[in-house]
Assembly symmetry: C2
């Protein structure tokens, strides 16, 4: 496998295939998500879905094929998505009267339904979520990060006023921050997008941004306050308590299968994947070792059962045609947090040898009867270790800069925290020269004003902006 | 609402909309699955997914857009699906070199990947499942039963030999039988399809058939043994233990959102839905009653919490602008198995009034402190009652017939069990005259031979066949 330091992109593409996360689909830019990758998505999905339901949202399902005319009702929306649309022109053996687009996102069809379902203030807030596939034709596809088809959830909500809609927008961002930080061990930075980076049709766009191990930024989830833009385009109105007809304020927010790519690029190394235990299909792998590996299989199975009872996802590698050494490398490459080696001598001593995928702990023998009681703690420590390591990496590669040379140097390897004028032409110049774009205005940054790092005009936003090259 | 007896089809269409299960999508034949309907799907999905995983299958995800040429590789497959395809001809602002079809099912793209992933007998069996949307252009759409887009799971497996593949085919059928019978309370009949009713490209097709309350049959799940048809078309080969190259034997099996329609049509009545507790979004609804309903809200919330602790899905109807009478009708229409009425007088007496959606139990006061301990039993009894009632209905409307007049009479109101010659032309005549088709050769029917009920030629299949008009 190509080392990370030599060619990060080659390392990534080789690893996601070799580790069995994905395969190439037959159509350019599409991917097959294989069981090992799909299981990570299911684990993330279950946790995120639980949080979405706990906060009062209900799941629903809207049709994938949308009349082309719907897209055109919100001017910025169609402008943003038109170049990426896949269009169904024939169906049932005939040419269709109106072409249908495969949803790139569902604001329009959900807006149309909301206008039917909402009439009174009593119908608000309307809090919906959908798990679905979407299609956006990608010119420069990259596995998980930008694929022609991807999986996601999209929350869509309608509210009586701006305050309530903004609370919802921030609540969704908080859910994403929680999931990214505490499940994927991504120390993301929540912030607001600058106007040039907003979602097509949104009044305000918020994001969580993570730093990959090549120093680039990855947008890992977004939450949009739409104002009344879609409500006006789709006539989503309600009668208020005083009987006046008012437009709803709407939001939408999404998290996608790109999260799997983010995990690979945040934690992986030259040996392969490193998976955070909370998203690992197998948290522990048991590898029988020694000349007579078959002899220890019953004990391995028994140990697995006792760990499963302790709530751990365990896999016993019972392949007989492969050597223990091959298996060690294989599971390291596939990022399993903890490996337990069990041979006849270990068994006689009542122990197994525990090896962690990363960290300062050496391999060590552990009494079999202590394992079920300690394993959750070991996994929690490993999860915390990954988050700490990624946080340190992010902070070590983020520079607060006030002059152009430092800026250019910072964004060539990581992130720059800089003051910026907010003028689109100045953003464009920065991008042309360094490939860096404004990733977000961090929510928790201190207030600060001064001169633009590029053009020396007075700074906008009242805070420093994070600039980086992005995926 | 139109009564069932007057116009079953109108009753169904009005009910699924009024109960909040669905709404019409903007494109003909598509549906929006609203939260109340989608929750039923989620509950079924969770149970079926658990069973699929327990039996060794892994979930994966394959691209939705399939090159048109893939469909053409298996002759019967393309013939069966060509008339129903939706075709993407333009994407990314350009006309595509090769049109892409939106998957009507995924045998072809999964076959292509299996041929890459399988090389040795050690790679077998390969047991995959996918949860996805599919599109089949419907000329006569009907909500849930035949919609242009629907949701389903599709299992796809590859095996070293026919025996193993047939075991898998029957295992999947058993999962469907279990889910239909024990979750949806549908007393389905498992059986084999006659050759004319097989899946396009299958060697053998098995089905579970349910009887709706208008006497028609509904196919509620199918499991196909493909022989080596797809393996030959997609070159899915493995090297056996003796080093010979062999074709795999493959299977596929699917269950869809039409199950929700089956539940509506099997249990519903003129008052509305009747939901089996295991698939009911709300198993129990608590309705505060009396002049000062607000006064009992805290007690209602407390009761709900204690029932939730007992593992029950409970909803408190806290709408203040609607009368208790309206709410009773509303929840009856929406099919909630158990309603608990709680008023100031009940509260003073330490009881709630329990009303079941169906059955011989009268409304009765129940001590509040006994409710958490008894509610699971009440729901289990209700579940069993629905299955018993549907079984009795099915049996009362199934006739064993040996002459044409009795056959024609039986299929005008229900099912006929008849001997048939197995000749396609004879099937066609029966269909032309009565609209009835062979639904299945039941697995558990006794062996029996004789004359064809229609043409008096010797019977085929060695058993009676179920004929019915079908959805
Ligand atoms: Zn500037
Ligand atoms: Zn005949």
């Amino acid at each position: 496998m190509t080392p990370q330091s030599e060619d990060f992109s080659a390392w990534y593409n080789e690893l996601v295939a070799k580790a069995g996360l994905v395969d190439r689909g037959p159509v350019k830019g599409t991917m097959v998500i294989r069981p090992y990758g799909y299981r990570m998505w299911e684990l993330l999905q279950a946790e995120l879905d639980g949080r979405i339901k706990e906060t009062g949202h209900e799941n629903a399902y809207f049709p994938m094929l949308i009349p082309e005319s719907y897209l055109k009702r919100e001017a910025e929306h169609v402008e943003g998505f038109a170049p990426e649309l896949a269009v169904v022109t024939h169906a049932g053996g005939k040419e269709l009267d109106e072409p249908l687009v495969v949803r790139p996102t569902s604001e329009t069809v959900i807006g149309e339904m909301m206008s039917k379902w909402i009439s009174s203030h009593r119908d608000l807030p309307l809090l919906l979520n959908q798990w679905a596939n979407v299609v956006r034709w990608e010119l420069r596809p990259r596995t998980f990060l930008r694929t022609t088809e991807f999986l996601w959830q999209e929350g869509h909500t309608a509210h009586a006023g701006e305050d309530d809609a903004m609370r919802e927008t921030m609540l969704a961002l908080d859910l994403y921050d929680d999931v990214a930080t505490n499940l994927a061990a991504l120390p993301v930075v929540p912030g607001e997008k600058t106007p040039g980076e907003r979602f097509a049709g949104a009044a305000r766009t918020f994001t969580i941004e993570g730093m990959m191990r090549d120093g680039r930024a990855l947008q890992a989830g977004t939450s949009h306050y739409m104002g009344t833009n879609f409500a006006r385009a789709f006539d989503i109105q309600y009668t208020g308590e005083e009987g006046r007809l008012e437009y709803c304020h709407t939001t939408s927010w999404g998290m996608t299968t790109r999260m799997i790519g983010a995990v690979v690029m945040t934690h992986g190394d030259d040996k392969g994947l490193v998976l955070p235990p909370r998203l690992a299909p197998h948290q522990v792998v048991i590898v029988p070792v020694g000349r007579d590996a078959a002899e220890v299989m019953p004990a391995a199975v028994e140990l697995a059962a006792s760990l499963r009872t302790a709530g751990v996802r365990v896999h016993v590698d019972d392949r007989t045609h492969l050597s223990p050494g091959f298996k060690f490398n294989d599971w390291e490459m596939r990022g399993v947090p903890v490996r337990l080696e069990l041979g006849p001598r270990d068994l006689a001593a009542g122990t197994a040898v525990m090896a962690r995928r990363l960290g300062d702990h050496p391999k060590e023998p552990v009494p079999l009867d202590r394992l079920p009681g300690m394993i959750t703690g070991v996994l929690d420590d490993f999860q915390a270790y990954l988050l700490r390591r990624a946080t340190e990496f992010r902070d070590a590669n983020t520079a607060t800069v006030d002059d152009w040379d430092s800026f250019a140097s910072a964004v060539s390897t990581g992130w720059a925290r800089a003051l910026h004028c907010g003028v689109p032409a100045c953003e464009d110049e920065i991008k042309a020269e360094t490939k860096a774009t404004p990733r977000c205005v961090p929510l928790n940054a201190p207030e600060e004003t001064g001169e633009c790092v590029r053009c020396h005009r007075p700074s906008a936003y009242g805070k420093r902006v994070i600039f980086a090259r992005a995926y």
